[in-house]
């Protein structure tokens, strides 16, 4: 599943656009939209996560380096290949001199970015933090990951009962702050990264820490990715949530390291408009508490809790 890209012409001058890879363009477009939506011109700090980094530029330089035997190389793709290119480019575009971090921790890259953002807001309530997750997919990376058996065959869909997920990509950025405004979508209540094997008990603990019971979770955006090897385990982990409506968000986003940032956008909209835009169906009631439960290869797990305002 490839990202649906906007018309970048309205966002950036053509000369800059030509040089930018998809991941940078997506990241900048998402950043601009988030700032516009929040009605601020620039954040104070920028903290992003990316599992893969700038794949297209990395591969372009690697390919030329090998095929041209380390000769006659040009720097453009190399200088855009570093993992912090997107956050750096956003800072450059906005002349934002503030703190600027990029996490690269596989399926937890967005979660770590979000966690640090929350620490900053706990330190200083006046800050506006631009945070999010950004990943692109390329043909070469798709081919390589396919060889590990991670993706389904071409004729199979998300719903096909087979091993493998559907590859995805995307950029989702958010302005988060400690101040509630008319523009606020939802309250980010808490986040937990789990390395334990007993996810159900981690869920109990997480809700308890936030003075919630299982019945309080109206919606659970669950990271089932269509991979028959994991989906039943992942669903089972959330069995205690008997009152919740489950939404398989990777049906729409596909699987990628920062797919939870897509779920985060979805959850924000759900809290704000009581609807899931991707299927157009209006839910009958405005949710109160929305839980995002994501996993990556069943090795790392995370909970993100949002609350409607």
């Amino acid at each position: 599943m490839l990202a649906i890209e906007p018309d970048y012409k309205n966002l950036l001058p053509p000369i800059q656009l030509r040089r930018m890879s998809k991941v940078v363009k997506m990241g900048i477009a998402a950043a601009k939209n988030a700032l516009l939506d929040a009605e601020i011109s620039s954040p104070d700090i920028i903290i992003t996560g990316t599992g893969y980094g700038c794949l297209a530029d990395t591969e372009a330089f690697l390919q030329k380096m090998i095929s041209q035997n380390e000769s006659l190389l040009t720097p453009t793709s190399f200088i855009q290949s570093t993992h912090n290119t997107v956050s750096g480019q956003i800072a450059l575009l906005l002349t934002c001199h503030g703190h600027n971090f990029t996490y690269v921790q596989r399926g937890l890259s967005f979660e770590f970015a979000l966690q640090e953002s929350m620490l900053w807001l706990a330190e200083n309530e006046q800050l506006q933090v631009l945070t999010g997750g950004i990943d692109e997919m390329t043909n070469h990376t798709f081919d390589i990951i396919s060889r590990f058996g991670s993706y389904k065959n071409e004729n199979e869909t998300y719903d096909t009962d087979a091993k493998g997920s559907i590859a995805g990509e995307g950029a989702h950025l958010f302005v988060i702050s400690a101040q509630k405004t008319e523009r606020s979508y939802a309250e980010l209540v808490d986040l937990k990264i789990c390395h334990t094997e007993n996810i159900s008990s981690a869920l109990h603990e997480f809700l308890q820490q936030n003075s919630l019971s299982l019945e309080d979770i109206d919606y659970c955006l669950i990271g089932t990715n269509g991979d028959a090897r994991y989906d039943s385990i992942i669903r089972q982990n959330m069995n205690p949530l008997t009152h919740s409506t489950f939404i398989d968000f990777k049906k729409w986003s596909g699987e990628y390291p920062t797919a939870s940032s897509f779920a985060f956008a979805l959850a924000c909209n759900l809290c704000y408009t009581a609807s899931i835009p991707s299927d157009g169906k209006n839910k009958d009631h405005k949710p109160k508490n929305v839980l995002i439960y994501n996993h990556y290869k069943n090795q790392s797990h995370s909970f993100i809790l949002l609350r409607a305002l």
Partner: protein, 404 residues
């Protein structure tokens, strides 16, 4: 929030030594690791000098006690982080360690690229060829996970990748997590190994010196790439007291700022460099004249050394401390340099030593202070600043202080 963070362990490996002690002895002796590559296979072997650790991957795997065929950066990371953690563990009983909330935070820019390069040359000929074992640990995060498993750290395992400031940022973030009482202890620093990707990349930017680099020299021609890893063990004040630990140093200030000028070049006046140093100083509560030594980023490129020097002079004015770069010794170790140089700063405080900038013969005109070229011992060193600046305008500054 608890505001004290202590350093209770350190470890480093670079072209000038396999551990912190060897590194320090080399710094005292004025040794440089610069030379031709032995293990990195490149057509630039005779034209581009590097600071390579003179050990094969098999030897490093043995030292790290890890399985063979892992990325070189994982071995370097394991060796240095294990050294740092061992130093801490020597002070406490094992059960005391088991009960702590320990994190591993590592900076890294190229992950397992050294092996991915091998894979890719086969893959480009035929998409079904190339050993998958060469790319399974390609991601930066994979290197950190491999080493965390080795260190048996589970609570918090994360990677920061902000180019050449990656490991300085890992140390900074480790402090933040401790101050917020999220963790009791963090092994923080970074790792990077030489590979053709970065060597060729920096070469296209025409900032690699074909001779031994000479940071802060008027006739400097660029950097020499290096490789290595450096880590410190950060401990909260509560745990330091509870376990009666003897800290090596304290982290008294840190800041990250963005130059927001260009993807790879620094602004002429070093806006980001200045802001990072200024904010770190603010956090420490120290006056400019109280900083005794700045271990500069000082890569040896025309652009960096000029911007950094100008920013230092602007911030410190009449109180510019002793300034030197140790990159003439180690080369520019990219994602590892903040970690390695944090160890060098701790050693500077511990031994009241300021290192010389090697091969500096003609001072620059860009600023009026003189960069230190002599080994200085016996002068009391209370506070040391360490700078790391990277692509994407990413500028970081850390301040380390004596414990008393």
């Amino acid at each position: 929030m608890n505001n004290k963070v202590w350093i209770c362990g350190m470890g480093a490996i670079s072209a000038i030594g396999d551990n912190a002690t060897e590194n320090f002895e080399s710094l005292l002796a004025g040794n440089s690791g610069v030379g031709k590559t032995t293990f990195l296979s490149t057509i630039h072997r005779d034209s581009l000098l590097v600071c390579e650790i003179k050990k094969s991957n098999e030897e490093l795997a043995g030292m790290a006690k890890m399985k063979p065929n892992l990325p070189r950066a994982a071995y370097l990371s394991a060796i240095a982080s294990e050294e740092a953690l061992t130093q801490l563990k020597q002070q406490i009983e094992e059960p005391a360690f088991e009960n702590l909330r320990v994190g591993f935070l590592s900076g890294n820019t190229i992950g397992g690229m050294d092996l991915s390069e091998n894979f890719y040359s086969d893959f480009l000929k035929d998409p079904s060829s190339g050993h998958l074992s060469d790319v399974v640990n390609h991601e930066c995060g994979a290197i950190t996970e491999l080493v965390a498993e080795k260190l048996n750290v589970k609570n918090y395992v994360a990677t920061l990748s902000t180019a050449c400031s990656s490991s300085a940022n890992a140390i900074m973030q480790g402090c933040r997590l401790i101050k917020h009482n999220k963790l009791d202890m963090v092994i923080a620093g970074g790792t990077d190994a030489l590979c053709r990707f970065t060597l060729n990349g920096f070469n296209t930017l025409m900032i690699v010196d074909s001779e031994p680099c000479k940071p802060f020299d008027a006739h400097r021609k660029g950097l020499n790439l290096g490789e290595g890893a450096g880590y410190v063990v950060l401990v909260s004040d509560a745990i330091k007291k509870q376990l009666n630990l003897k800290p090596i140093a304290a982290v008294s200030g840190y800041a990250n700022a963005n130059d927001a000028f260009h993807q790879t070049a620094s602004s002429a006046e070093g806006i980001g460099n200045f802001l990072a140093m200024e904010q770190a100083l603010q956090m420490s509560g120290l006056a400019p004249h109280q900083i005794d030594y700045i271990n500069a980023h000082g890569t040896g490129t025309a652009n960096n050394d000029s911007s950094e020097g100008i920013a230092i002079e602007r911030l410190f004015a009449d109180h510019v401390p002793l300034v030197s770069s140790t990159k003439a010794n180690t080369g520019h170790t990219l994602g590892a340099c903040g970690g390695i140089e944090a160890v060098y700063c701790c050693l500077s405080l511990q031994h009241n030593t300021v290192y010389p900038s090697l091969r500096l013969t003609t001072p620059m005109n860009d600023f009026s202070f003189e960069v230190n070229t002599k080994l200085i011992q016996g002068k009391e060193i209370h506070h040391v600043m360490s700078n790391s600046f990277g692509f994407g305008g990413n500028c970081s500054s850390l301040i380390f202080s004596k414990t008393t």
